[in-house]
């Protein structure tokens, strides 16, 4: 079939966008769960949960779409990552299940509420850690032969992936805290202001470790960044600028800026990561063109997406609009 466009590139863009959407949106609500054990009172926890209750479900649908979309556009990624991260994927799903039912049951529970608190916190932390470890595993690369994963069950679990796992936990916690600043007031907001700078510090430390470490994990990354001066350097610079904005806006007690700047920090770090690995989709052996599905399948799905995704985005925006504003005592009424 004639191929007027390189659909693989378009799909790479769509998937990259979808992953970013998922990370930012589910990130702040996973963050609530991570911060849950540290909240001083049950009232804090009520507000935290209420601040994300109307939207978390839609957020997780993006994960399902990510899974199915990968299978459709880059089946190799789906067929290598999932076997390689087998145990991690199970932990991720189990974490999400517990978190999901905790959302449902905590509000109905009275005496057993503490159990659902733990289910929510534990599920969120495990799920976030597992996602961070996936990022680390991606940077490390996978043992593949003839388009199949051939490594062991726990190859992905290395000191490096533990660090990236913890890094994402800290990052989501920061997103969660700055989201809370925006959505709450009074003592809950004060508390969020207090913890946010510490989380920022934790995030920066982990980012520094990862940045130093990554080039040693993967020589190709090393040469990309250091062989000749590249435009890529603008990304870490922008990320650092975002970190500075977070810090100063927290000091000035601004409400919206810290959250927006944290999203910027995530975005530029993410782009930096993509830039390091480009065009490898299943490192170290396969590029995105190796991983792609058939042209006609890509086309078949793209036509539908072009039509449906704008509607989905419009609906999502509408939900956020409906639930805009601060969480008042006791939630949205």
């Amino acid at each position: 079939m004639a191929q007027p466009f390189d659909l693989t590139l378009i799909w790479a863009g769509i998937i990259a966008f979808g992953v970013m959407m998922y990370v930012l949106m589910d990130g702040f609500d996973l963050g609530q769960g991570i911060l849950f054990p540290f909240a001083p009172t049950e009232h804090h926890r009520d507000v935290m949960m209420n601040s994300v209750a109307p939207v978390w479900d839609g957020n997780e649908t993006w994960l399902v779409l990510g899974g199915a979309g990968l299978l459709a556009a880059f089946p190799l990624v789906y067929a290598v990552f999932l076997p390689a991260l087998y145990i991690g994927v199970f932990l991720l799903l189990a974490g999400l299940i517990f978190r999901g039912v905790a959302f449902e049951f905590r509000f109905k529970a009275k005496t057993s509420r503490y159990l659902w608190n733990w289910a929510f916190a534990g599920g969120s932390i495990v799920a976030s850690f597992a996602q961070g470890a996936v990022v680390g595993a991606y940077i490390q690369g996978f043992a593949t032969e003839n388009f199949r994963y051939v490594g062991g069950a726990l190859d992905w679990l290395t000191p490096f992936t533990v660090i990236t796992g913890l890094g994402l936990v800290a990052g989501y916690a920061l997103l969660g805290a700055t989201w809370l600043i925006m959505k709450s007031e009074g003592e809950v907001q004060q508390w969020a202001y207090k913890i946010a700078p510490r989380l920022l510090l934790a995030v920066l430390v982990v980012f520094a470790v990862i940045s130093v470490y990554t080039p040693f994990v993967d020589a190709r990354v090393m040469s990309r960044w250091f062989d000749s001066f590249s435009l890529l350097w603008i990304l870490p610079v922008l990320a650092m600028y975002c970190a500075w904005v977070i810090y100063s806006s927290l000091k000035q007690k601004r409400e919206g800026t810290p959250f927006v700047a944290t999203m910027g920090l995530f975005l530029f770090t993410y782009l930096g990561l993509l830039g390091s690995k480009w065009p490898y989709m299943v490192p170290p052996n396969y590029t995105l063109w190796d991983a792609a599905s058939d042209y006609s399948s890509q086309l078949f799905l793209l036509l539908g997406f072009l039509f449906v995704i704008p509607i989905v985005l419009a609906y999502t925006a509408w939900t956020y609009w409906v639930f805009r504003g601060k969480v008042k005592q006791g939630g949205y009424h």
Partner: protein, 465 residues
């Protein structure tokens, strides 16, 4: 002992998919029932319809929530345990599953909020529209997923090149030979599930004389549905079987417990098929009936299992008995439907205690029939994952070890048991609360918040408050 990753993966897949299947089959039917109630309420303005709808929406919310949580697991199963299969079929399976997400899941998510919480916030017409859209969403979802499944049963429209399938014709691949029958049979199964659960729960309320008028109406609707749909299901099932005979003869041979290809095959009512000895023990059957049903000729030839080598025969015992469970329950449903009709004159159907108690018992029958049906379909396909083309063993993830598979199998069993018991416990509370609680004016206390499936239900998890 060496752990077999193939066997463990099959057990795991069967477990998670059966667990998942329980919920959609109910939500699909219930969504349509709610849409009907909302339509009646909109058209007649009779408050009874709304009372009923409020109650059943609460039930729907809980079941739907469980369906979502278990469904998320399903979409990753293909990659974790069956990566060779997923990779080989990705050109077809990927777009189909993605379309399911964007056309069905997002649609359901969008209108669910309005259905659950919007009654007082949007005009009644919009609320009705939301109910219809949620019901539509569940059918769109079935369309895509059953199309994927039917392709594995009766593959068509694909081309195999270098170990990858390429879609040669989307229309042939989406609408394969078994798809129409499967979709109809499944849709009827969902309606029957809703009808029997509604009948059982309403019968229980009627026995307790609670909200008598509304529940009697619900009971009456459910019984008409049962009377109409149960026989229809048997007819559709029969056609489904004839189609299977054409495309998957070994599956039918296993369903009939027939070893030799021969004429005038009896319909076995009882037998213990023994794959090792390639014969049945303790056969009891009606002479020539199987030939007649399958070929419409008393002396028609029916294929036997021995036509293929032992390794290519499905597990006969499981298929044989699951099929009898499904058909047996189907016949029972027809009988109960007819009994309801006999009791209809003079309204004895809501006074006969024996009948009402039977209905209560029958409310789990559709779930058993559905699971038995899927076991027939899926186990009967063995050893093929894609019938005649790819076996289970070929589809398995190559790097998977027995230890890994055992770990996640135990993990899912534990997680699901916890989730399921909480869910069922809560559902029973919603039932106990009944229409009264669902319609009680309640001030939203601090534990309520909108936009979540479960918060549409007002029972609390413990205690009776």
């Amino acid at each position: 002992m060496e752990l077999d990753p193939l066997l463990l993966s099959r057990i795991q897949f069967a477990f998670v998919v059966c667990f998942h299947a329980i919920f959609p089959v109910f939500t699909i039917g219930l969504a349509s029932f709610i849409a009907v109630l909302e339509t009646l309420s909109f058209k007649t303005g009779n408050p009874l319809w709304q009372q009923l709808s409020k109650f059943w929406i609460q039930v729907f919310a809980v079941v739907f929530g469980m369906g979502v949580v278990s469904g998320i697991v399903m979409s990753f199963q293909f990659g974790t345990n069956w990566s060779n299969f997923a990779y080989a079929t990705a050109n077809f399976l990927g777009p189909v599953l993605s379309y399911e997400v964007v056309t069905a899941f997002f649609l359901e998510a969008a209108f669910l909020g309005v259905l659950l919480f919007g009654r007082d916030k949007v005009p009644q017409g919009v609320h009705l529209f939301a109910a219809i859209m949620v019901a539509t969403g569940t059918f769109i979802s079935s369309f895509w997923i059953l199309s994927a499944n039917s392709l594995m049963q009766t593959p068509a429209g694909l081309e195999l090149r270098d170990g990858m399938y390429y879609v040669a014709s989307w229309s042939e691949a989406l609408f394969t030979a078994s798809f129409g029958y499967r979709f109809l049979h499944m849709a009827l199964a969902s309606f029957l599930t809703a009808a029997l659960v509604v009948a059982g729960v309403s019968a229980w309320f009627v026995l307790q004389k609670r909200e008598f008028d509304a529940n009697r109406k619900a009971l009456s609707i459910a019984l008409w549905m049962l009377l109409l749909l149960a026989p229809l299901q048997a007819v559709v099932g029969d056609f489904h079987g004839l189609n299977t005979l054409k495309h998957q003869p070994m599956k039918v041979a296993a369903m009939e417990g027939n070893w030799e290809t021969r004429e005038g095959v009896p319909l076995l009512l009882f037998a213990i098929p023994d794959k090792e000895q390639q014969q049945n023990h303790f056969e009891l059957g009606i002479p020539k009936l199987a030939s007649f049903i399958l070929t419409h000729d008393w002396n028609g030839t029916v294929p036997g299992l021995k036509e293929v080598p032992v390794e290519e025969q499905p597990p006969v015992f499981i298929v044989f008995w699951s099929f009898r469970v499904m058909v047996g329950l189907g016949l029972l449903m027809i009988a109960v439907g007819v009994w309801g009709l006999v009791l209809r004159p003079g309204g004895r159907y809501y006074r006969s205690v024996a009948f009402l108690q039977t209905l209560r018992l029958m409310s789990i029958s559709p779930f058993l029939a559905v699971l038995a049906g899927w076991v027939v379909t899926e186990t009967g396909r063995a050893p093929w994952l894609i019938y005649g083309q790819m076996t289970h063993a070929q589809g398995l993830t190559p790097s998977l070890t027995g230890g890994m598979a055992l770990f996640t199998l135990i993990g899912y069993v534990v997680v699901y048991s916890l989730v399921f018991s909480s869910g069922v416990y809560y559902l029973l509370k919603v039932f106990r609360g009944g229409l009264e609680k669902a319609n009680a004016p309640h001030e939203m206390d601090e534990v309520e918040r909108p936009m979540r499936p479960f918060s549409a239900a007002h029972a609390s998890l413990e205690g009776d408050k």
